[in-house]
């Protein structure tokens, strides 16, 4: 392919991805019954924590982050982005069952663009969630010593987390094509959360969960957020967070494209 043809193809695929992301966002907003829980459930948890019911911060070995809300908001963001990813999978399964997905497949677009459109739409939802949750956390007393840069890095990590979750949701939706199965996956979001140091530092997880958390990429993303928010390498590594986030996005998107190709061959 010549350089000109390649540039033209990339521009076309860029327009396709943008159009599909716009559509994903628009439809998600109109299907509020699925999207709202991904904003409300994490906020509810944050509110419970803010009401002072947790004495976790008093535990020996708990890092000093000012307020427990400040520590836990990274887990709240993670919860929201995982739910947003699952919602993206549900929407895709709905497209498959309703036949709209065939319309996308019969258009001259790269299979990867179909996945990336959905992932980009979910990343934007992840950004909106992170902005909302961080704002609420600040309002109820969190103080982030990492400042604006730390907040910006956390929002980027949230976008990566939402993208990876959307890639995973898309993979399952494409493999199963079942809307009802996708709707029953909500409990697994909590399994992923509790096998990562979302609400407690890794040192305070029980030995089994701590072992699992080592191989759960979400661990590095959530710790990366904390390290950025508090500008503290003791809480985690921002670089490890980005590496785990980017790696998860690439892996899940590749799995989704593979699942899509298998679906056409099956």
């Amino acid at each position: 392919m010549s350089t000109f043809a390649l540039e033209r193809d990339l521009a076309t695929q860029g327009r396709v991805i943008t159009a599909l992301a716009e559509r994903a966002l628009r439809v998600q907003l109109r299907r509020a019954q699925f999207l709202l829980p991904s904003f409300l459930l994490p906020l509810l948890l944050l509110a419970v924590i803010a009401s002072g019911t947790s004495a976790a911060q008093q535990l020996p070995g708990f890092p000093s982050t000012g307020s427990y809300v400040g520590f836990v908001v990274s887990g709240t963001i993670m919860q929201g982005t995982l739910l947003a990813g699952l919602t993206a999978g549900i929407a895709l399964a709905g497209d498959i069952e309703g036949g709209f997905f065939d319309r996308l497949l019969s258009a001259p677009v790269h299979r990867a663009s179909i996945v990336l459109g959905r992932v980009l739409g979910t990343a934007l939802i992840g950004i909106a969630q992170a902005v909302l949750f961080l704002t609420v956390a600040i309002v109820i007393g969190a103080d982030f010593s990492g400042g604006a840069v730390g907040i910006a890095l956390t929002i980027l990590l949230a976008a990566l987390s939402a993208s990876a979750a959307a890639g995973l949701g898309a993979t399952i939706a494409l493999r199963t094509g079942s809307l009802s199965l996708m709707q029953n996956l909500f409990p697994f979001v909590f399994v992923l959360l509790f096998t990562a140091p979302a609400f407690f530092p890794r040192a305070l997880l029980n030995p089994v969960l701590e072992t699992i958390s080592v191989v759960n990429p979400l661990s590095y993303v959530v710790e990366g957020m904390r390290a950025a928010l508090f500008n503290s390498p003791a809480l985690g590594s921002v670089w490890a967070g980005f590496a785990a986030g980017i790696g998860s996005v690439i892996l899940t998107c590749c799995l989704a494209v593979w699942a899509m190709r298998s679906r056409v061959r099956a």
Binding site: T12, R15, V16, T18, A19, L20, R23, R26, V27, R30, R31, D95, G98, G99, F100, D102, R103, L104, L105, S106, A107, P108, V109, V264, R265, A266
Partner: protein
Amino acid sequence: MVSGVSSPKKIDCEQDAAIVVEGLERIYPGGLRAVDGVDLAVASGEIYGFLGPNGAGKSTTVRILTTLLRPTGGRASVAGYDVVEQASQVRRSIGVALQEAALDPLMTGRELLQLQGALHGLRRAESKLRAEELLVRVDLVPASDRLLNTYSGGMRRRLDLAMALVHRPSVLFLDEPTTGLDPVSRTSLWTELRSLNDEGTTIFLTTQYLEEAEQLADRVGIIDHGKIVAEGTPQELGRLVGEPGLYVKLIDQTQSDRARELLTVHGAVSDRAAGGLTIRTGLGARAIAPIVRTLDEAQIEVDAVEVEEPTLDDVFLAVTGHRAEEAAEDDPA
């Protein structure tokens, strides 16, 4: 197989063909042979009707030709491109309106058309302009900003057709485009399809209705259990059944038994479940006068006599030896 020999747009050579299918096969995991060695060719500018009952292999064939499914055997090309090796070029050349008008109910007609434009590489401004043109063409301007879940079946079908036309395809695939539509919507869609064909678009149409194929198609292929069992013009296929039968409705239904006795001299007589008699004489409409005369002489009053045109079921029975519904029950593909 019955071959169409008097096709109005007969293919002289493969270069003229918009669609060429040779020995096409599709075996699903589990062993179900949905398409079993289909051969067909459709000329550029032709309307080809693909008939068969549910589960006969129509939709699987269309899914292969539109690159949504890979064949497990044989080959097919559309607009000169191989459906497996050159799938992307095939997708650029075709418009597709699949069964049940698969449209997102949470989008508006205009949004869907603009999205379709983007999927086919149109820039935003071009896409908006093309959407406006097509909304006018399919008479959906007043409803264009309403969500799809407020559209009627006919409106959804018209929008589905408009979406298939966004990029001005040379070949259009329509999978049962009028199933479930009322007669007015069906006629309106037929008019639009004829107009598209007049502009040069090749149309591959699957349907369960012989009437639809007769109204639209230059040639028709009938598929049963994954194989083409007959092919020809609608007239040629109709002739397979022989001359049409006659339906005779009596004013006094209690005279049916006597009428049946008298009419056996003209041909085979059978009762209709809804009342009245069907007579197959082999003479078609020419048998009306002698039949009425026989009944009149016996002082049996006739309410109506109608010529019964052969249906898909009649053609199906003639070429396969079984009825279409039986085939559908046997084969869930």
